[in-house]
Structures are given as structure tokens and as C-alpha cells.
Amino acid sequence: MSAELVHASVQKGLRGGSGFGTAVVTRGLAAPLERALEELSAYDFDPARAVGADRVEWAHRVLTVQGRSHSVLSRTAPCGSDWSGRPNRVAHHVVVDTAERAEAGPAWMLAALAQGVLMQHVPEVGERAQGPRLPGGALSARPAHAWSAAGFDPGWAGVVARALLDHAGAPCYLVLPGETDTLPLVEDVFALLPEDRRWHVTFSTRFLRSSPTARCQLRCVRAGAAGLRAMLAEPGARVITVEAGVLAANQPGADAARTGAPIEAVLRMNTRVQPVLRSGDASRAAPEPRGASVTPFAPTERIAGLSTPMDGEARAPSALGSARAPWESDHRSVASRIGVGSSDFLAYILFGIAAMALLASLVLGVVILMRD
């Protein structure tokens, strides 16, 4: 079931003490997850320093806490002044269970939750027995009208969608010219994505900073913001700069967004071979196919029975700690895909080599004996 947490400056929080703290939480939410959600609650009030493109932060992030991944929808925005007379903000996070994910995707669900579920003011402090009821719904591909309404070429929505699909492991910076109502733009992008990919894609409309524990792929930022240049220099990052009146021309995906056609990822086989350590006890081996469907090499192919890496399944312990880079799972997925027959195949090859060596030594021995 879903769970929620509201974090704001309150005179007396749920955990005692005044100031920034938990105002509302679903009973039973694990303490480490609560702390990790608190970490996601920051808001930068200074317009000169804020990098994000939107005044409100709408976000879908995959949070890794103690080896488990959670899909989290968030809304963080200013909400007047707090009890001490200083600017306050309210952050409302909803942890979405796998079964409750709407096919329409996280952006659609955020927009739906904004209608009466997500807090815009500091609520009464208290614990709730259960999380919010989450809406369900489907969303088919459609022309990117929100982009046109905002004064941008709708083709850019397709360019963004294409970048998200083709470079699933890389951050993608969407640089917008100024403060923009970004959630409708993101909804348009998600409408173009295949349904089975939507909950893999993470985003923030008011990106603050990258976090080792929270994955955020699409980062909406404001052109000319202080510190943006250093952010965009991140290796491997995709940068899409959108300006009013500038056409996306024939860039990949642009036409699909103009006509409302779904975008499929390009099939790209990953040729890198990664060594995989396998446990001798098959029952103790990590559940590799689960959590291995983030596959940049065959993203359009839906594999029956596979789920996303944020299903909450415990992962195999990693020497790098609980937060693993996305590409690590890619390596595992490559291995898992070819792994079913590869170990047998390898054994056959080794056996063949050994047999040939034995045969050769026998022949050599016979030749030596015959010479003597």
C-alpha cells in the first residue's frame, strides 16, 4: 500500500521539537525511509540561486534505502510563513506501491494527486492509518499541446522523450528559458513514452542537486541560473536547451511529438561483456531477472514477469553500498539475459579445449614413441 509524508516547519512536529519536521506520516513508515524522504524536502527560496525551472517542485524519484528501492512522488512548494515568521515550505511525498502505479505514468499521477490530495498548506500534525488513495488511469500518445501553449515547438517533447529512452542511465537536463509551469510539459513527454517505461523515468521540475540515494533522470533547470554551467558539465549528461521560437527541426522524436505518435526506443545491443560472480547455491543467488529490466539495449521489449528496479525487492549486497548506479543493474541484466545458457556454453568450450589438449598430447606421445 502507498504511504505518505508531509514535511514542513511546524511549532511542534510529530517527532517532537519545533522547526522543520514531520507533520504527517503514514503509520508504519520505516524510520530510514522517513529520514530519506526528509532529505528530499529541501526547497531553495532564493530566486537568484535556485537552478530549478519551476516555482513548485514536482518530482518522481527512485529512492534507494537500505538496499530497497521506492518510487516516490513529491510536491514541494512555498506556503507562506511559519510560526517564527520566516518563509515556510511544505513537502508532500507519496511512496507508490508497485500495484498502484497508474499506466498513465508518474507525471499524470502527480497532476491527478494535485487535485485535493497533495498538501499546499501545512496540515494538522498527526499520524494517518493509511496512505492516500491513488488514482488509476491510462494515457495514450498525443500531440504535445502543453509545449505549444507554453510557446515552444511541440517537437521538443519528442526530443526529450527520445533522450530519456535512449540514454536511460544518464541524467538529462532540460534547460528552459525562465520560470515555467513545467508539470504539463513533463506530462506531454510521458504521454509519448511506452507505458512500460514510464515508471522507470524519474524527473524533477525544480532540480536542486543530485543525490547519491535518489535517482532523478530528467532535471528541469532554468537557463542562466547560477551554478548551472558546472551541473551541465557532468560527464554523460544530455542537455536539451529549449527556447521559445526555436524549432526542434528533424531531431529524433520531434515529428512523433507533433503528430502524437508513440516513441519507441532504438534497439541497441550492449556488446560489453561483464564478469558475473555466481553463487554455487542457486537458491541463494540474487533474483537477477527482477530488477533487471532497465535495459538500454532492448527497452521496447517487454519481458513477461519482469518488474522494475523499484519494486522493493531486496537486492544483492553491493560493495558500493545501498545506492547503486543504474548502469550496474544494466551489467547484471546483460549477464542475466545471456546467463541462462552461457555458463553451460562456457563449460562446453572449456571441456572441448581440455579434450583437444588431451588428444594432442596423446598424438604427440604416440609420435614420440614411434620415432623411438
Binding site: S9, Q11, K12, R15, G16, G17, S18, G19, F20, G21, R35, E38, E39, L40, S41, A42, Y43, D44, F45, D46, R49, G80, S81, D82, W83, S84, G85, R86, P87, N88, L208, R209, S210, S211, P212, T213, M231, A233, E234, P235, G236, A319, L320, G321, S322, A323
Partner: protein, 412 residues
């Protein structure tokens, strides 16, 4: 090539790891060396240099000369001066909304003027690292729109005030240090300050993965900021909660400030492995904030010094004898209205110092409709804003500020 004399050891201002200058990592400059094992792909690689050019600069594996340094553990950047100048970490502690950020901004702003202490120089060690202080100062003290009401935002628990790094199989979060070079005569020090959120000091808030208050384990002075207007007894004497809240006072807050002081002292002992019988390794300086609000009910001397709307700025730290009289007056005030705080301070450090100050010098006003507190930057007149900080540094480095150090005065 000039010679450099290095300090014997460095305490990283980010993660507080102690290491020798010879172990310091350098930050690679070559573009091909992107990606670091601790900080991630977005950062340049950190390395222990083995090759140097003729000017003594470290060479990265691709031969590019490097001058930027980093910590051996967290790999976060250190100002180069840190390997040459001894460091003085001052912990600024206090309950939420007591005025820590305003004090830091006002103190930093006034210290830059050179008018606070005669002969004292105060410079940013690294302007890129000190962006938080610069931002705090610019909101009220260097505003480009001095007639537009503004206020310093509440310090958040996460976000860009903090840095994360991966070490020992975990992800750690630490507050961003603000580093300043202070000099007086031939003495030089690297002053290191942190703007923690008050919530971090509340009992039960300490977390292993968020060691945001671990500077208490290495600091050489403790400034404990107290807002007397958060106490019910003071509030009653000032005319009630509404009257106090309307002028920027804390009103009645359920958080007891003496408990925050006890929690801070306990953390100091835990982090340094001290016995409960051991004295604290530094002097506690209690900075009494918003003195312009409560001074009139404390003593005539304080009332004169902090009378609201004086129309002048008093940034200079008062002389030692004035500080002694102010300490005595503040002590009487606390004894009457906040005796448990006074008793706690006495129990923890019998030689504690009381220093009142006002970061704004004038009460802010509430927006129409009972909204947020605002003050026009042009109306801001801080009174003794840097006094608590200077007194704390003088207790840590008595030879540098002998006129403010009780220890030094007793010795002389």
C-alpha cells in the same frame, strides 16, 4: 619559489577527518580525468601526487599541473591555505529560530568592515566555498534593493547547504563549511563556521549517516545562541505572546533551550570520548540574541546599549570591562527569568561568558494579515553582532585577542 611551512595536521572542515598535509589529495585538471571514486562521475578525479613540476605544483596522471586540494577521506575541496594556517573551528549551536543565521550574517558582514576589532583582518578563504555566507549577507546587509523588505530564510535540513559523499560503504551528508582567514599582528588563523539548522541540535536528531553536528568533536569554541524571547517568563514581562511575536520575538516555543545546551555538551563528550566528570574542552559563550527586544527589562546599561532605533550601527566589539559589566547584567537577567539556563551553563562550564547582541538592531515587522516578518535592509543596524564570535575566538586563541580573553587578562 617561495617556501611554505605546513601545519602538523589538518582537520577536514567537511568530514572532520584528521590527516597530515603530506596525505592531502590533489584535484586533477585534465578533462579526461573526470570521475571520482568518492564523489561520483561529475567531479574531477582526486589523487595522491607523486610527480611535481619545477614550481612545486602537483602533476596529474596526464601531466596537467594541479593546485586544488581535497580531503583524503571525503575528497571535497579544501582551500590551499588550510595546509599552512592553523584552523580554529567554532561551533555555533542553538534551538530553532534563535537567530543563528542572522548572527552569522551580521557578524561576517561587520567583520569584513575591519571596524570590529582594531588591527584584525578578515577574508574569505575561498569565495566559491563561502557562497552561503555571501548569500546570507546579501539578503539583509548588502541588498541591492535596500528599501524592499526582506528576511533571511529559515535554514533547511538538506539541500545545497549540505554536501554528500560516499565513503566506507555509506553515503554521508555534512554541512558546508564557511572558511575565513583571520589575522592580527603576526598571528593567522583559519576560522571555520557552520550554519546548521537548529533542528540538528535537538535531542534525538543525531544520525550516523548525517554527521551534521560532528564539528562539535573538533571545535575549539562553542557559541550557544539563546533567544530569551522564546521563554514564557520573558514573554510575559515583554507584554505577552502577541506583542513579542509582532516584533520578531520567538513568542512561546515549547522547545527548552537549556536542554539543547545539555544535548550539545553531551555530544561534545561523546564525540571526544570524555568522561562526564571531565570539563568541556572549551569555553561556552552564550550569545543572547535579539537584545534590542529584551534589554529594556534587563538593566539600564543594556537598555542604553541596545535601545531600538538608535539610528547608528555599533559593530565594534566593546572593551573588556564593558563586556564584563554586560556579562554581570545579563547574568542577573537570566537568574531572574531563565534560571535553569544559567544553572546549566554554570554546571557545564563555570567560566562561561554571556554576550548579548542584536543582529538587526531594530524589530522587523509582520506583513499585513499576520504573515512573515520583514525588515527593510536600509533599516538594519546591527549592534555588537560579532561580539559573541570574537569572544569565542579570544577564548580559543587568547594570544590573538588578549583584551577579550578572561584567561589572558587574569594571567596579566
Amino acid at each position: 619559489m617561495s617556501t611554505r611551512s605546513l601545519v602538523s595536521s589538518i582537520n577536514c572542515p567537511h568530514c572532520w577527518t584528521e590527516f597530515q598535509p603530506a596525505q592531502v589529495r590533489f584535484i586533477s585538471e585534465h578533462e579526461a580525468l573526470r570521475g571520482d571514486a568518492v564523489l561520483g562521475d561529475a567531479e574531477q578525479m582526486r589523487f595522491l601526487p607523486s610527480r611535481f613540476d619545477a614550481r612545486g605544483r602537483a602533476l596529474d596522471p596526464f601531466g596537467a599541473p594541479c593546485t586544488r586540494m581535497a580531503c583524503v577521506r571525503c575528497h571535497l575541496e579544501l582551500p590551499p591555505a588550510l595546509v599552512e594556517i592553523p584552523q580554529t573551528i567554532v561551533s555555533v549551536v542553538g534551538a530553532p529560530a534563535c537567530g543563528k543565521s542572522v548572527m552569522l550574517a551580521a557578524a561576517s558582514f561587520s567583520l569584513r568592515s575591519g571596524l570590529v576589532v582594531e588591527g584584525m583582518h578578515y577574508l574569505d578563504a575561498d569565495t566559491s566555498l563561502n557562497d552561503l555566507t555571501v548569500e546570507l549577507e546579501s539578503s539583509l546587509f548588502r541588498s541591492t534593493t535596500p528599501d524592499t523588505p526582506a528576511m533571511i530564510a529559515k535554514t533547511d535540513l538538506s539541500g545545497r547547504l549540505y554536501r554528500s559523499f560516499r565513503s566506507e560503504d555509506g553515503v554521508w551528508t555534512a554541512p558546508k563549511p564557511q572558511l575565513f582567514e583571520i589575522a592580527r599582528g603576526s598571528a593567522r588563523r583559519m576560522l571555520c563556521l557552520y550554519d546548521n539548522a537548529g533542528e540538528h541540535f535537538l535531542p534525538g536528531r543525531e544520525s550516523a549517516q548525517e554527521p551534521v553536528t560532528r564539528h562539535l568533536g573538533v571545535s575549539r569554541a562553542l557559541v550557544f545562541v539563546v533567544d530569551p524571547t522564546q521563554d514564557q517568563r520573558v514573554v510575559e514581562r515583554l507584554g505577552g505572546r502577541d506583542a513579542v511575536s509582532a516584533t520578531g520575538g520567538g513568542g512561546t516555543v515549547e522547545q527548552r533551550q537549556d536542554l539543547v545546551l545539555i544535548e550539545a555538551a553531551n555530544r561534545v563528550r561523546r564525540l571526544r570520548g570524555l568522561s562526564t566528570r571531565d570539563p568541556l574542552p572549551f569555553r561556552i559563550v552564550i550569545a543572547l540574541a535579539k537584545a534590542d527586544l529584551w534589554a529594556p527589562i534587563a538593566s539600564p546599561e543594556l537598555a542604553d546599549a541596545f535601545r531600538a532605533g538608535l539610528g547608528r550601527t555599533s559593530v565594534a566589539v566593546p572593551h573588556g570591562e564593558v563586556l564584563a559589566r554586560v556579562h554581570a547584567a545579563s547574568s542577573r537577567f537570566l537568574e531572574e527569568l531563565m534560571p535553569e539556563l544559567l544553572a546549566t551553563a554554570r554546571a557545564l562550564d563555570p567560566g562561561f561568558r554571556l554576550v548579548p547582541f542584536s543582529g538587526l538592531g531594530k524589530p522587523p515587522t509582520r506583513d499585513a494579515g499576520g504573515g512573515g516578518l520583514r525588515i527593510r535592509p536600509q533599516d538594519v543596524r546591527p549592534i555588537w553582532p560579532a561580539a559573541p564570535l570574537v569572544v569565542a575566538i579570544s577564548e580559543a586563541e587568547p594570544a590573538m585577542f588578549p583584551e577579550y580573553s578572561v584567561r589572558e587578562q587574569r594571567a596579566s
